[in-house]
Amino acid sequence: MDLPVISNAPVAAEGGGCASSGCGSAPDALAHLPDEIRAKVQDHPCYSEDAHHYFARMHVAVAPACNIQCNYCNRKYDCSNESRPGVVSELLTPDQALKKIKAVAAEIPQMTVLGIAGPGDPLANPGRTFETFRMLSEQTPDIKLCVSTNGLNLPQYADEIAKHNIDHVTITINCVDPEIGAKIYPWIYWNNKRIRGVEGARILIEQQQKGLEALTSRGILVKVNSVLIPGVNDEHLKEVSKIVKAKGAFLHNVMPLIAEAEHGTYYGLMAQRGPTDEELQALQDECAGDMSMMRHCRQCRADAVGLLGEDRGDEFTMDKIDVMDVDYEAAMVRRKAVHDDIINKLESERAAKAAKVPVHLSIAADTRPVLMAVAGKNGVVAEHFGHAREFLIYEASPEGVRFISHRKTELYCAGLDTCGDGGVAAEDEPESVLERNIRTLSGCEVVLCSKIGFEPWGMLEAAGIQPNGEHAMEPIEDAVMAVYKEMYDAGKLAVPGQARQVA
């Protein structure tokens, strides 16, 4: 069966393949890619929905300087293009970075990807960035490298990037129109001058586009990130998506603007709002028709160590690393064994999925889709409702299950004791946090978790969201599809629910 990837039609299910069992974003995200690119991406923790449960990446903060200003960034902190605003990383020299990377790689063999993303713009720090890459290409050949940039200096360093073991580059492109750019970038530093307004934005956009072409023409994978700024570039991002895809970017990742006054950014101080979950999702869906999206990206910390979303950075501060003595040759042997194990496991999981008759084929094609929130961890329904720091939002439809987004929550539950009994921790207005969390789930009809207290259960039901604790420890996609099938069999999907906004 053909996979329509150009039209706005939802991706059709491929009989029995990965697409049919809906391993998150993978089917529609990767289906359009040429084989050699798909092979590169398949086991990449940042891009492959199933691989990111097993492999890990880390970032090192070796690049402090920046050559532009973004209105969502405060330079007291790390580059907001790659991390959440307000994060400060421990700055490392290239030598320190090398030591840290070897220590982490020896300790966490799953770490296969090393990124330089900040705290400023890596290509505004060419000396420190490429010195680090040069040493890593020589000394840790089993680690893939990646780099992110605002794009201003990209054309000039495309050849240098091609020399190293760099498997992909992320460019943050928020616009292709200088008038819009002037509202996002107040100035750039270019040819020994500070250039402001539309002129600065025009140069930046030109360099980003040239850089994108320079990389794709050299066969380097390029991912594009865009920050969705309501009222500034929201409509415009559809155009951006078309253009970057035409120039060969393999993923377009739309991230929400995060703007709080206390971050001290221009947008935060001027009370520019970020998008709602619904706005973000609508735009991601709109762009998905044009281009594959990376839904499970979490805007990780620039110095995060560990599986995506989990941070073990505290185990590897410079003072601890200084006393470690890493034999990298020996570590590489151990790492290889662990990697082979994981690949075997991934392959057998993929094969098992392929062998199963997909449940969704028994659901009538005109059945309406349902959004479900999952308190999940490592690919299974694992978390207690009150302990979930985020919910994974999935859409179940007759085409299968697809991952949509993450939605962050606030922890309202203080400990297992209170919640395990069905109660709610009675600390500083727990209700209001709980209520807020329930509002985070708007649009969802079901929430899947391993356990849930009595009180949130009642409140969820009152909000029209059905709690479900029956699929604890089951793989998320299977659980979501099973619940969807139950709803279908019970006739709950016959009545048209809220109209499908996407497709």
Binding site: A124, Y189, N192, R194, Y266, L269
Partner: protein, 96 residues
């Protein structure tokens, strides 16, 4: 003639990399300019390079204490708004 770096500096290294005279050095709590080496970029560039790339208002001043990038000049936040934000404790920039 030489420029100076103030306590507003966030230690981002940007000026260090672009100074044509290697006049800028890392120090605690922030970067400093060696006034024996700084020429204000005369003869090398039309604009002093440290001030052309520095992202922080008021971090670089001249001998008279005047900021090369005064409040509002880099962020574009209007001065009245800056005053209001300063009153709320949200910004620390000193206003002229």
């Amino acid at each position: 003639m030489a420029l100076q770096i103030t306590a507003q500096c966030v230690n981002c290294w940007a000026c260090y990399d672009v100074c044509p005279n290697d006049a800028i050095y890392e120090d605690k709590p922030h970067f400093l300019i060696d006034d024996a080496k700084c020429t204000e970029c005369l003869g090398d560039h039309a604009d002093p390079q440290c001030a052309a790339i520095c992202p922080i208002e008021c971090a670089i001043i001249d001998e008279l204490g005047e900021a090369l990038n005064p409040p509002g000049s880099l962020t574009g936040i209007p001065l009245e708004k800056l005053a209001e934000l300063a009153a709320q404790g949200l910004v620390t920039t000193e206003l002229p």
